[in-house]
C-alpha cells in the first residue's frame, strides 16, 4: 500500500487509542472505492457475480462486493449465510463456480500474485498442537519466506509473548484465536481477512482485537472481518457487507445503513397527564406517536427533536427529557433481511 508506514509493531499506541473513528468509507456504488485522503489505486476486493455451488446447494449466489481500501469492513450474516465460503474463495482456497473476483487487483484464480500481501484467519484457528506457538509461526514464516523477526513482534502484539514457547495444545481457545491473528499479521499485510476473530475471546480479548483492528486501519491496512456478533461489528467497522442466504443484502457505510432505518424520538413530559396532549401535537404534524408508560415514542428522526420541543413549549408542556434513538446494527440487519425474505 502506497505510503503505508512500515511494520506494525507492539508498543505503538494507535492514534485513536481504541476509540471509534469516523473514517469515511466509500459508498458501495463508488467505482473505485477510494477513500478521501488515502492513496489507493482501487478497491481492495472486488467481486462480480461470484458464485459457489456445492452440489445442489448454492452457498454463494452471484455476489458483487467492493471493499474500499484502508478501512475496516465488516462482513455480517447468520451462520451458513456464505461468509466463510466467500472468504475462502478470496483466499484461493475454494474455486468459484462462477463469476469473477479480484483481490488487491489480481484475479483470485492466481492467488500467488497477491497472497504475500494478505494475512488471514479462516474459520477456527488451526495449529499443530504439539508445537509451540512460536514454532507454529516459524512454520508459516519459513513457508512464506517472511522475516523471522516478525514472529516476536506479532506475538507481542497479541500479548502471547510470555506463552510463546508453550505447546499450542495447552492454549485456551482465546489464546489460539490470538495466535491466529498473529499468524495473519506475519507478512505485514496490506489486507487482513479475519473470519470470526472474536470467537472464544473474553471481553478483554475482544477489546484488544477491536483496538488492534482500528490500529491496523490507522496504519492504512484494509481489514475485512466477518462476524455474526453484530454489536461488535457496529463498534469497529466503517463499511459493511451484509450477506443472507448467499446473497448480498446491503453494502456501504455503517452510518448510512443505520440512518436509513426507522428511528424514534422519546419525549418525557414533566407531568404524565400531558402525554396524550403531546401525542396529539405530534399527530397533527403527521408523526406517528404512541404512549409507552411514562414516555411518548414518536416516529421521527433526531432532526425533528427541536421542532417537537418548540411545539411542546408553545402548548405549555414542559419536557424533562427528549432523546433520539437510532436502530442498532442488529435491528437494521433484521429489518433488511426481513424485507428481502418477503
Amino acid at each position: 500500500m502506497n505510503g503505508r508506514p512500515s511494520h506494525l509493531v507492539p508498543n505503538q499506541e494507535p492514534a485513536t487509542s481504541g476509540q471509534r473513528t469516523t473514517s469515511p468509507a466509500a459508498p458501495a456504488s463508488s467505482p473505485a472505492g477510494k477513500i478521501p485522503g488515502r492513496e489507493t489505486d482501487g478497491p481492495a476486493v472486488a467481486t462480480s457475480a461470484l458464485t459457489k455451488r456445492f452440489g445442489e446447494r448454492l452457498a454463494v449466489d452471484a455476489i458483487d462486493i467492493e471493499l474500499p481500501s484502508g478501512v475496516v469492513s465488516g462482513f455480517v450474516g447468520p451462520n451458513g449465510a456464505g461468509k466463510t465460503t466467500t472468504i475462502q474463495m478470496l483466499l484461493g482456497l475454494v474455486r468459484p463456480t462462477g463469476g469473477t473476483a479480484r483481490v488487491l487487483g489480481h484475479p483470485v484464480g492466481h492467488p500467488a500474485a497477491y497472497l504475500d500481501r494478505v494475512g488471514a484467519l479462516v474459520e477456527s484457528p488451526s495449529f499443530y498442537p504439539t508445537l509451540s506457538g512460536r514454532r507454529n509461526l516459524e512454520v508459516l514464516t519459513r513457508l512464506g519466506r517472511l522475516d523471522r523477526a516478525r514472529i516476536g513482534e506479532v506475538l507481542a502484539l497479541v500479548e502471547l509473548g510470555d506463552r510463546a514457547d508453550d505447546l499450542v495444545r495447552t492454549y485456551s481457545l482465546g489464546m489460539k484465536q490470538r495466535l491466529g491473528v498473529a499468524a495473519a499479521l506475519l507478512p505485514d499485510p496490506e489486507l487482513v481477512i479475519l473470519d470470526e476473530p472474536a470467537n472464544g475471546l473474553d471481553p478483554a480479548g475482544i477489546r484488544e482485537i477491536r483496538r488492534l483492528l482500528r490500529r491496523l486501519s490507522d496504519e492504512g491496512v484494509t481489514v475485512f472481518v466477518s462476524s455474526h456478533q453484530l454489536a461488535e461489528i457496529e463498534t469497529i467497522c466503517d463499511h459493511l457487507v451484509m450477506i443472507h442466504q448467499g446473497r448480498i443484502v446491503f453494502q456501504g457505510k455503517v452510518d448510512d445503513l443505520l440512518a436509513a432505518q426507522h428511528s424514534d424520538l422519546i419525549a418525557i413530559p414533566e407531568h404524565s397527564k400531558d402525554l396524550v396532549k403531546l401525542a396529539e401535537l405530534c399527530e397533527q404534524e403527521g408523526k406517528a406517536a404512541h404512549v409507552d408508560g411514562d414516555v411518548l415514542r414518536v416516529q421521527a428522526s433526531g432532526d425533528w427533536a427541536a421542532e417537537l420541543n418548540r411545539r411542546a413549549m408553545a402548548a405549555g408542556i414542559t419536557l424533562r427529557g427528549l432523546q433520539s434513538t437510532r436502530a442498532s446494527l442488529e435491528e437494521a440487519f433484521f429489518a433488511v433481511t426481513e424485507r428481502k425474505d418477503r
Partner: protein, 264 residues
Amino acid sequence: MLAAFSSELVKLRRRGVLLWGLGGGLLFTVLATVFTIERAVNTLQPGFHGHGFRVTVAQLSQPDGLVHGVVDVSNLVGIVALCLFAGATASEYSQGTLRNLLIRQPRRAELLSGKFLALALFIALAVLLAIAVAAGVAFALAPGKGIHTSAWTSSTGLNDLWHSILHVYLACVGYGILGTALAVLLRSPGVAIALGVAWVLPIEAIITGAIWSNGDRWLPGQLLSALAHGGNSSSSYAHALVTLTVYAVLTAIGTLLLFQRRDA
C-alpha cells in the same frame, strides 16, 4: 519448493514424529537383527534353505550377513514410512492447518513437493539410523554365536551394505508415495493409514494367494518388497524398479492434480 521443505522440517522436529518415525524403524530393525543372530543355527534341516530369522551361521558370515535381518523386515520399515507420509499429509486436512499453509504458499504443487522431499529426507535419516544401530547390534552379538564378521567389512560387504540401504530407502520412498496419495485422496490420517496398511499386507496377500497368482509381479506392495530385497523369486530388481517408477510417476501426477484442483 525449498520454502515448503524448510517449513516441513520444523514440524518433523516434533517429539511424536521423532519417536514414531525414527523409533519405529529402529525398533523393527534392531529386533530383526537380534532375532536373526540369536536364532542362527549351524545347520538347517534338510530341504530348508533358510530365510527370515531362520538362517545359518555360515550364511550370516557372508558379506551380506550384516543387514540380513534388516532387509527381512524392510516391509515393516516401509509401513512406518507409509504411516509417516500419510499421517503428516492427511493431518494437514484433519487439523485444518492446510488452509494456513495454502495462504502462505498458494503454489500447491510446490507445497506438496517440498513437504514430500522433507519427509523423504527424514525417512532417509531414519533408515540410516536404523541400519547403523542394527549393524552395531549385529557386530556386538555376532561373536557370541560364532559368526565371522570379517566379510562384513570387506569391500564386497560394504558394497552389499550400501546397496541394501539404497534398496530399503527406495522402497520406503515408494511406500511414502502411496501414503501421500492416500492422504490427499482420503484426507483422514486414520483412514489413509488403515487402508494403506491393509492393502500392502493382507489384501495383496489374498489377491496373490487366491485370485491372481501372477499378481506378485505387478501389485505395488509385492514389488516394493522385491525392491527392498534387491529382487526376489517373483520379480527381478530391474523389473521391480522400472514398474514401480511408472507407478510412482502416475501416482504423483494424479496426486498433484487432485491436490491442486480440489477445494481446501
